[in-house]
């Protein structure tokens, strides 16, 4: 999502709007959709209950590692050029950094206080009030940051989503050229 205009994996060229989307862009888009939906479900603890909440959180942690890896080029490039960048890029970088901290600490604290997933895998960790509070605090912070993170790239999401849906409406695998 962060590679728009950067010549990376997910770049969407305006002139190629009628061509089939690259595999990397489609993977990126659907991975982002899965992460967003999973996060909404995982946050809705009263609805999911302990077991689904914890297993979903663990799966989310793994998918986030892949998400971060796919955008690592953007992270490195933007961090290097941070001083010379426009204010908008700096805002996105700061939001992403805060999200990295929030999400990582949320998942790690969730693992430490796990009551179902970890014990069923044979791991029995001891937790305390700090990790419980940290889990709640970081979950609330990330709930605020996740939509901001997505909305800052809404043009990319809308563009790719429109092209994907248009292609589907035209029939499976049909090229609209």
């Amino acid at each position: 999502m962060d590679d728009i205009g950067g010549g990376g994996l997910t770049q969407v060229r305006p002139r190629a709007s009628r061509r089939q989307l690259p595999v990397g862009t489609r993977l990126d888009f659907w991975l982002d959709v899965v992460i967003m939906v999973s996060y909404i479900f995982a946050y809705s603890y009263g609805f999911t209950g302990d077991a689904i909440h914890e297993w979903l959180g663990l799966a989310l942690g793994l998918v986030l590692l892949v998400h971060l890896t796919l955008h690592w080029d953007w992270v490195v490039r933007t961090t290097r050029k941070l001083l010379g960048r426009r204010g908008h890029d700096r805002v996105i970088w700061l939001v992403n950094l805060a999200l990295l901290f929030g999400m990582t600490l949320c998942i790690v604290s969730g693992i430490v206080i796990s009551r179902v997933a970890l014990p069923s895998l044979g791991f029995f960790l001891t937790s305390n009030l700090f990790w419980n509070r940290l889990h709640i605090l970081t979950a609330e912070i990330t709930l605020g940051l996740v939509p901001v993170h997505a909305a800052l790239r809404w043009r990319w999401i809308a563009g790719v989503g429109r092209r994907l849906l248009t292609r589907r409406a035209g029939g499976p695998g049909r090229d609209l050229r």
């Binding site: 967003m36 909404i40 479900f41 946050y43 809705s44 603890y45 009263g46 609805f47 999911t48 209950g49 302990d50 077991a51 689904i52 297993w55 590692l65 892949v66 971060l68 890896t69 690592w72 080029d73 908008h88 990295l100 901290f101 990582t104 600490l105 790690v108 604290s109 206080i113 796990s114 009551r115 179902v116 970890l118 014990p119 069923s120 029995f124 001891t126 937790s127 305390n128 009030l129 700090f130 990790w131 419980n132 509070r133 940290l134 889990h135 709640i136 605090l137 709930l143 605020g144 996740v146 939509p147 901001v148 997505a150 909305a151 800052l152 809404w154």
Partner: protein
């Protein structure tokens, strides 16, 4: 190969953030989220039982606690209870509403910011064009 290398870098960053979290727990800054005196036995809704003075150990039903485990620090958890609570679907919809509302707010701000930027750029270009025209006219007249 590039993916593996980048994945390794990501794991390092995640490990560093985790280490910061552990350091936070052991520093005096941990009082920000667990003020002194708040470590008394409480029943935290939805997030597990916290026992006075230390950690808790979770075991599947029927398992024996490890030697040395403090009585009262062991809870038994049924790991087979995997089901959605459909009566609490409002919890899911309210989360989705928060996410959608926040996204909508940021998108509106983004559109406004871009419009302001375009208007400023157009005004700047127009004034530059006007200046060029007036220069050309004065050169011709002079």
């Amino acid at each position: 190969m590039k993916f593996v290398r980048q994945f390794g870098a990501v794991l390092l960053v995640v490990a560093a953030v985790t280490a910061l979290g552990v350091a936070w727990e052991h520093s005096s800054a941990a009082d920000w989220i667990t003020p002194p005196g708040s470590s008394t036995a409480t029943k935290l809704s939805d997030h597990g039982r916290v026992v006075r003075g230390g950690g808790i150990i979770r075991l599947p039903p029927g398992a024996h606690p490890p030697p040395g485990a403090v009585q009262g620090h062991v809870i038994y958890v049924d790991t087979n209870a995997v089901q959605l609570d459909l009566s609490d679907i409002g919890n899911l919809t309210s989360t989705a509403e928060i996410v959608v509302a926040a996204m909508a707010g940021v998108i509106v701000l983004e559109i406004t910011r871009r419009r302001v930027w375009r208007a400023r750029r157009a005004a700047r270009l127009a004034s530059a064009r006007a200046a060029r025209c007036s220069q050309a006219l004065s050169r011709r007249d002079g």
